[in-house]
Each structure stands twice: as C-alpha cells, then as structure tokens.
Assembly symmetry: C2
Homo-oligomer: 325 residues x 2
C-alpha cells in the first residue's frame, strides 16, 4: 500500500455529541479527497517516505470523557501511550516515537502524569520526540491530552481494514470484555480483580503480535470500539458480509467469574470497546504465528450477522461505542 489515511473514533466513558461527531467526520472526509485518502477509514495514516513506509496516528483523551475524574494520572498516561501504540500494532509497525499535546492541570497531577508517561514510554521502549503544552485558561473541567505516534512499517503491504476476502476467518487475539468489567469496577472504586481493572486502565498494545501477524493477514485493526462495531467496519471496508459466532468469543476466567458465561455477558463483551485486542482476517487454514481465536467468517454480501452455535441472534441496539454509550 502506498498511502492510506484514517479517521479514528475512539471509545470513551461518555459519548456526548455522537451525531455531531459523525457529521464532523463526514466533513473531514470531504476535505481528505486525495486518491490515497481511502475515505479516512483506517487506523492510521500510511505513506511512503524515503523508501520506508511511515505510519502516523493521533488520539485525544478528555478528562471526564476518556478518564474518570479521580483516575490515577499515571494510568491516564499509560492509556494514552497504549491506545496510540495499539494503532501502530494494527499496522504491524515498529514505533519511532511520540509527540504529546498536554493541557496543564494542577502540579501534583502533572507530575504524576509525567512519571507515568516516562514509565509507559520506557515499558514500550518508545522515545518522546516533542510536543506542546498549554494552560487551560482557568477551566480545568475538560482538560484534554493528545498524542501522535509515528512508526515504520515492517511489512509490505501494510495491513488495512479493507483487505478481507470471501471465505476468510475473522480472528481476535485474546479475551474481550475485560476492559468493560474493569471500567465498572473502577467506577465503583474497586481495585480487584486487578487483571480486569488493569485491562481498562493499562491496556497492552500488541506491537509484537501485530508485527508477527502483518505478513499473514488480509485485513487487520485493533478493537477500540467493540468487536461487533469494529468487525462491521472491517466488513464494510472490504465490501463483504461478516458473521460472528457469539459462542466462539474468548472470555477470560476473571470476566466469567464476575459476569458468568451467558448470552447477556457475551453480548456485553462484544459490544464494548477498550480491549485493544487485534482483529484480523486470514484464510481459514492459515498457520498463524501467534495464538488467536476464530470468531467469525467473511462472505459475499454486506453487513454483520450474529449467531450462537449456528442459531441466529438479534444484534444489540448499539453495536459499540459509536452510538452514545
């Protein structure tokens, strides 16, 4: 791929103004009319520079929208880094570095954020390249923080959302629903089970898995807005229909212990985001370089269908974070 582009919609605690958001993104698509723009529907901008393929992504987080007011600032820093690197992971990219756009809060919060940022960047061995700071003009209710992550492709072509083929299997790299369970716990101020709370606060960007998978997948993205919504986007981008088997969706033992394993808990796991597992399409008989779970299949047609052990299941009224949860 020579060049593709993106417009991200990131999951959040609260999505006021989603209608406005869709309208605004539609306006952005009118601007990004270049042949290489691909309708701003991918996870990252992808373009050739100097014989390499550069991958660039930008994510923004807002206090009270993407993090709880009493969140640990170090967790906020971690998540900001993680969600950006997750977009690089979905492209099989190797990170070059990040730039930070930071709206100052109080000194204590800022110091804790800086320490968390140092920790998060060190954990992923990613350098801070630069950025910008600004005051909030005395209004700190909607402090926002943005990050731009840059990487280079390790694989040509770079995976996109639109390459799924008829007959491809839809795979996910790990358990879904943990971040939603962790969010519920965090809202109640609970810290255990720590694996669930961490799934929400400290997601792991799957950079190595993304690089391993890039050469063998036909399409790939990260699950930020929920399996159903993101899979439907992959299907739409690929001009195909996707059918997902609810019974095949991997759930963690911690998730099952808290929410049981039934249709309701599975529906929650597939329609909430923030898990940052990789979602990919590959031929049914592929030998995969990393463990993954087959959760669906692509076929001729359009749209998303849900089954449970072969029996059709009604789709939920909201597929994921797009619709105002």
């Amino acid at each position: 791929m020579d060049c593709s582009m993106l417009w991200q919609r990131k999951s959040g605690l609260d999505h006021n103004g989603m209608t406005s958001e869709s309208a605004f993104i539609a306006l952005m698509r009118q601007i990004a009319t270049g042949a290489a723009a691909r309708g701003l529907q991918d996870d990252a901008a992808v373009f050739a520079v100097g014989g390499e393929t550069l991958i660039v992504t930008h994510d923004m987080m807002v206090q009270g929208v993407h993090w709880l007011y009493d969140a640990n600032p170090a967790d906020v820093a971690w998540k900001l880094v993680a969600v950006n690197l997750s977009d690089l992971a979905a492209k099989g990219a190797r990170p070059i570095g990040v730039l930070l756009g930071y709206m100052l809060g109080d000194d204590e919060w800022d110091r804790a954020f800086a320490a968390g940022l140092a920790n998060a960047l060190a954990a992923h061995d990613v350098p801070l390249l630069g950025g910008d700071t600004t005051g909030a003009g005395g209004h700190t209710e909607t402090r926002s923080i943005g990050m731009t992550a840059l990487g280079v492709a390790t694989c040509d072509p770079v995976p996109s959302r639109n390459g799924a083929q008829v007959g491809d299997t839809l795979y996910v790299t790990g358990a879904l629903g943990d971040a939603k369970a962790g969010f519920d716990l965090a809202v109640r101020g609970e810290r255990n089970p720590v694996c669930l709370v961490n799934a929400f606060n400290r997601p792991i960007p799957l950079l190595v898995k993304g690089q391993s998978l890039a050469p063998v997948v036909n399409a790939m993205m990260d699950i930020s807005d929920g399996l159903l919504l993101d899979a439907s986007r992959m299907a739409a981008a690929s001009g195909l229909r996707v059918e997902i088997d609810l019974a095949s969706v991997p759930l963690s033992l911690d998730y099952i212990a808290l929410h049981h394993d039934n249709r309701e808990s599975r529906m929650i796991a597939v329609s909430w985001g923030d898990d940052y597992q990789l979602l990919f399409a590959a031929p049914a008989n592929s030998i995969l370089p990393v463990p993954a779970f087959a959760v669906g299949q692509f076929s001729q047609g359009a749209g998303l269908a849900l089954t449970e052990n072969g029996t059709p299941v009604d789709l939920p009224s909201t597929l994921g974070f797009e619709h105002g949860q």
Copy 2:
C-alpha cells in the same frame, strides 16, 4: 542533522500556569534523554526515515486561551494550520500533511471550522491525513484542538536553533508587532485595519521563504513568542550572546499609524509573539535569497542585550510570552 527534537511553547492570549508549564517541560526533558533529543529545544522533531529526513511538529490551541470566545471558527482553523506549518517553514521543510485532534463544539461552530480547515489546507496545498474527534463531556469552556504537521526536509543539514556562529547577523523576514496590534483590535471587536487583524487571525506560514533560506542560514526558527524571547533562545541554544538593535526592527506602516514609532511601540513589537516571521542567523555578508532585515548580531558570551542606535536599552521585565502575559 540526523535527529533533533522539540518542546514547543506557543504564544497565547493568556498564560495561566506558566510556572507549572516550565516545571512540566523540565519533566519532559528528563524523559527525552536520548542523545538525539537535543533537550526538546527545537521547533520540530527531525529524524531520518529511509533516505529522507522527516520533520514533525504538534501544536495545541485552547478556546479562551489561544482564541477568543467569539472568534470566527474559520480563523481558528486557519491559525491552527498556519502555526503548525510555520514550524515546518523554520526547518525549510516541504509539508506532507496534517493530522487533526478535534474536540467537538456545537454543530454550527464545527461546520464553520471544517470549512475553514478545508480552505486553509487548500491554500497551502497540504492534505489532511487523519486524526481523532472527541466530545467535550458537556464542558465546552475549554475546547481544545491539536494538530500534528509532517514534512520532509529540503536541505541537509536541517536548520536548527543552535547553529548561530560568532559574528553572524540576526535577521528577521518581516515586520513585527502586527499580530499584537491585530489582537488588540480583535479584543475590541474591530475589523480594521484588516492587515493587522489578519496578522493575528490569519498568519502566513513562510514555507517558501523557509525552503529558500534553509541552505544559507546557520540557525533558524519562527517567531511565535516574540523576537526578544525567541532570539534569546537561539543564542542560548548556540552558546552565544546576541545583541538586538531596537531601531533596526522592521515595523509596518499600519502598525506605526496606530502605535507611532517610538521606543514603547518598538518594545511592544519585540516582546509579543504570534507574528510567525522567520528569525535566522547568517554570516554578515551573506547574499540572501529573500528580503530580510538585520536586527542583531551574535558574539562570544551569553544572554541577550538590547540597544537603540548603539545606546544600551534596559530589557523589558518580560521578554515574551513565556512569563505570563
């Protein structure tokens, strides 16, 4: 130059929390410890990708801080594009494209911003590569918008702030103070003289001048925070002293008509930012490819000195936007 990095401080209408900002930037410098980091003191991140040198910069603007509450959204979009491209201009870079981080406002504002963004990007022939949108969680007092601009170097080495040599002349590409005069007019709701109001609302990124100058300068940056402050930064980065002649600073006829031409008006012109002229150091007898005004000279030592026709002049208590104006 193989790689350099940045931490920007951008001018604003209001700089609450500047002490916090300095402290936060100091923390960021502790994180960006790589040999190539250059202490986060340049205008943009500069690093090699394949056979090209990539330039990346990020700027953030906040409602009520960087734009007036009643500002024209199209002007805000223009300025966001311009300040980012101005950083590329200071590196002699050719723009590749931009990414937008956008916090939604009301529909009307968003539509006007999108139209202004389309116009600004078209004016500079720069594509939108992608970005992110988010709601403000119901708090729209501090809506913020971030932009990341990417470019490729047209000249090796890429100009930095730290290359000024003993005996170099300090040049500026055009009149200073117009943006400050325009800001004062905008605060009062006045629209004329339009050249001054536009200087504040619609600065022109000097991309072509930057590319022309890059091969002949020893150091270059854009003036975002005021001549005195930015020149003192160039001198400090270069390990030199710089002396600026107040009488040599170019003022526009519009500025003089409004503020007269005296020491006070010149002091205002050199200690307010937002003009986005290019500031550069070049050997005293250089033949310059673009018109420019000699305003000072570099010598052994450290710090900034101000004279007026050879007579020492006391520095103002605040050199520029760093200190809370």
